[in-house]
Assembly symmetry: D2
Homo-oligomer: 338 residues x 4
Amino acid sequence: MNIFLNDYNDLCHEKVYKKLATVKEKGNPGYGSDEYTERAKELIKRDLKRDDVQIEFLAGGTIANIIGISANLMAYEGIIAVESGHIVGHEAGSIEATGHKVELIYSEDGKLSGELLEKRMEDFGEEYHIVPKLVYISQTTELGTVYSYDELREIYDVCLKYGLYLYIDGARMAVGLAASDVKVEDLCDLCDIFTLGGTKNGALYGEALVIVEDELKENLRHFMKQRGAVMAKGFILGAQFEALFEDGLYYELGKRAYENSLKLSRAVEETGVSFYKKPESNQIFIVYPKSKIDELFKDNAFEVMPYDEENRVLRFVTNYRTTEEEIEGLKASLINLK
Amino acid sequence: MNIFLNDYNDLCHEKVYKKLATVKEKGNPGYGSDEYTERAKELIKRDLKRDDVQIEFLAGGTIANIIGISANLMAYEGIIAVESGHIVGHEAGSIEATGHKVELIYSEDGKLSGELLEKRMEDFGEEYHIVPKLVYISQTTELGTVYSYDELREIYDVCLKYGLYLYIDGARMAVGLAASDVKVEDLCDLCDIFTLGGTKNGALYGEALVIVEDELKENLRHFMKQRGAVMAKGFILGAQFEALFEDGLYYELGKRAYENSLKLSRAVEETGVSFYKKPESNQIFIVYPKSKIDELFKDNAFEVMPYDEENRVLRFVTNYRTTEEEIEGLKASLINLK
Amino acid sequence: MNIFLNDYNDLCHEKVYKKLATVKEKGNPGYGSDEYTERAKELIKRDLKRDDVQIEFLAGGTIANIIGISANLMAYEGIIAVESGHIVGHEAGSIEATGHKVELIYSEDGKLSGELLEKRMEDFGEEYHIVPKLVYISQTTELGTVYSYDELREIYDVCLKYGLYLYIDGARMAVGLAASDVKVEDLCDLCDIFTLGGTKNGALYGEALVIVEDELKENLRHFMKQRGAVMAKGFILGAQFEALFEDGLYYELGKRAYENSLKLSRAVEETGVSFYKKPESNQIFIVYPKSKIDELFKDNAFEVMPYDEENRVLRFVTNYRTTEEEIEGLKASLINLK
Amino acid sequence: MNIFLNDYNDLCHEKVYKKLATVKEKGNPGYGSDEYTERAKELIKRDLKRDDVQIEFLAGGTIANIIGISANLMAYEGIIAVESGHIVGHEAGSIEATGHKVELIYSEDGKLSGELLEKRMEDFGEEYHIVPKLVYISQTTELGTVYSYDELREIYDVCLKYGLYLYIDGARMAVGLAASDVKVEDLCDLCDIFTLGGTKNGALYGEALVIVEDELKENLRHFMKQRGAVMAKGFILGAQFEALFEDGLYYELGKRAYENSLKLSRAVEETGVSFYKKPESNQIFIVYPKSKIDELFKDNAFEVMPYDEENRVLRFVTNYRTTEEEIEGLKASLINLK
């Protein structure tokens, strides 16, 4: 079976698994006040070249988004996101459940731009509008596209102009770093708060939430506790992120996932199949005849999304475990089914 | 160091750790639709002797409470709990954050009773009251006390009379089963929904939420997703609970924690120190002079709570890893400091 | 000044004002348990030819929408509305503030259709989606268009098919009844819950919320109380609705507003100005050069909305107080400014 | 019938009713941007001797409390109130429905004190606690007691020390001003935000919310809109408050209600009946045999509350319309039933 189902279908990277075995047998303090968490935070700060950020480790992507997005919003403040944003259609109304409206922007390629944002801001200002306060984007995006340094800069400049926080959902940030000219140490200059996703990049579970803007730091731990986002055995999160950041494993796994995606998109291109969106990261989308999907499923694992009467969009995801054999296998399947 | 800090200060039981290594290298389906989760659910159903319950695995106790308590409540419905209930003062307003009021009952020993509940129900009924809909209790309680079968029966009968759901927070259910005459297969007859806590009983993290009442099942997964309570790598939760339930490890660890607590309470009693509440499970509370606490901390780990000007309440918790040496060590400290 | 600002710029109809003077000098029971409210409810039930509906009087349109829409929703349930729906962009996120997501449908003329709804329902069903539960429409719509009996029937049939509640925002229902083939006694067959707006049709303030579906009735009063929607002096609301419904005043005022709008649209048409949307009720929208608006404001009161670089959309609203002189006056202004 | 039911059982004071007739026949701007509202605000500012406060008019007490209390709270912040506070047991969980926890303090006479507040603050500070942010008190209290200047000063000083906002629910502020040494111009020095209730003091409906603290002003109108608290015909609220404040009617009615309560409490005292709480304002509570209540109801209107097996607490409320005859009538009934 050639597995392109998603980037979170294995236990974890073996270095992460082994690191767990080194956790003290007993007496670890709870709720993240332990030495592993402390070291993991220091390692990430070192890489970010910033000592003044706050870092919290959370169990998963949805809860990380809830915490990072809604912690500091007044009841009448809202969020701006592109229509394909993960929080818009894939989290069962998680943001609205915190009481905040998500105002949408349509974007062909799943990316926001400074211009789109600037234009959308014209729609607000009356007392019967919400007050926009936070902009949500994802790196890499839900359509597999990737922001460059300049694109993020442009968006953030508009945010600064209007007093908007910029939140970057980095569930796939490791690949985003491999696939763009954005360096990890640039991130703190390009937004107010972001995540470094672990679940899709070698951890058993866990996202690091990095808070740059001071206003967003105060009392965040209370909010995390309230939403069930503080893990009792926080030291397990800490140990995982220590393993991911002590020797650059985090970046290496992202790079491998990205390189595998380059190979995959080349292989797919050679079969003549049409891409749905230009492949830029480890999510590759193609348009494919509905009638052939069952056959393709025989040897390949992937996800299917709606498109039109005749066709579907298929998503193939690589990660650091993707092999040459899998890529060649999928290619062969696509050719055989032509 | 004699560690009585809490029951979640180790990584996990070694059988749980080893079980993880058996998870398939790749291709595990996400969000709990995997074979480990499936097997873990079947094992728990086997023990409960009930095929018709719904089981969900959640990352921690607070999120399990949020999901189990508020999933099926209308906006104007509320919860009844004793004042010492975990959700009242230890989760930063997690239930109120879902929009629901928690109505309080004062109880000397931290236990609700049918009589207390019946009496409290007289306070509602006007349109300016919330409509009570769910009763929250904990087994074992936050004060270390334990409900018997008859006590639960009595409470649940009042719940049934008034159309109230009964939710049992089982963060320490494994000890509760060891410390009471309640058998695991009784639980489905004694309430509508409950948890079997893993975090405090051998897991890395995780609580099993068992939904007995049909009304509480529908669309629960949507609600979990919305609150960030669905783990992408759900198979890791599944594998842990498989390890805990395939050979009765869950019950064995609870029993060991309880037996250790019996030894501890006997040892403490012999020192002449006064208990704050009669010890009934693995949380032992004593009243202790403030002035001697620093000295006691030198060799012993425990938690401190307010009491009066001169004294504090100290909490000592045993778990399955507690040793004779630790118990004797604490006893010696208490005697030395007299 | 020719006043086309909106339909709520006068105190109230004189019969309503006079009715207030007949309220008992003292001893009126509070919270709507009075004789005026009782009689007003009976009058409306008489007109609806339904004895089994529940009727509640609320202070205004936004609070009526909050109560009518979110009373009976589970946390994970959501609302479907057209993009131009009042609750989408004109109530500062009032529905999201109750925790529920509003899923949008684009509609050129501001009207939903059975077909549009049926198609939109295909987008749901996964656990990462909200569960659609209530459909919101307005009669008349925010763009001045009007649903026919058959159109409402078609929408409601799709709602029944999918187990969706249909809510009709009737802030302008009196005009809707005058402008369509829908009779007031049809309404209970065409939806589950709706409002009969008073604020825009002769009352000082107040909307009647009519609940047809039994599931939506239970405990609604608790929810109203919770959201600050129960008026202490409910008898004042009751007296107003008694005045509006005892002699058909409600329908008469709606008819006059509609007839005035027909005259207005004819007058506007004769000036050659282009309509933004085909005029069907008492809100008339035209596309007008930005440069001439200041001049037009000299003698005329109206609202201005964005359109393009050169032009704006202007809204002219008639009500039962609109005079021939005002209509002729606006026509003259439009001709003079050509 | 001697009416002591409550202080909101008449239409309104005749000066208020007449003022409405002076509202312009048409063309009044909506949502409080009208001349009546403007003048009413200026009149209140004049009386408060403060130009820098923000004033908003709201339809009723519950919605005023929701707006005034929760407008500026972060999700993890909570409220402190005495157990008998109106928001605790009489608004169906209105504050919790905004997501915020209300932490309770027990007080024998329904009044908070600086000492009680200071002591309660010791209970917070851990990340598993809410962060207390606003203190709620009522003048007069729900038990009919009244704060003096010094008592309010003491409470507010503790609030300032801990960075807590102080909110005074002034549903009965007019009586509070008559019954205490607090002058209306003192109020802005004694709290951050308060209401001047109109519903219980001569208006058809309406409370003035006065915001002193700048932090609480920003974007409040958006929040009001979101919660359905902005009246379309705001000019009707404005006109009522103009009537109440242009000639001191507001204070005069409060004074009359208070004087009537003094007469009533003297009359009741003379009958030998026991008071439940020492009468200090226009709510008089007595303990009365259950068996005689039906007889007492024949000629008198009042409210009944629980007490013990044999007795109930009865509440008698005076307002500006209470007559000597009613007071003598009630006295006679109490004597006859001895």
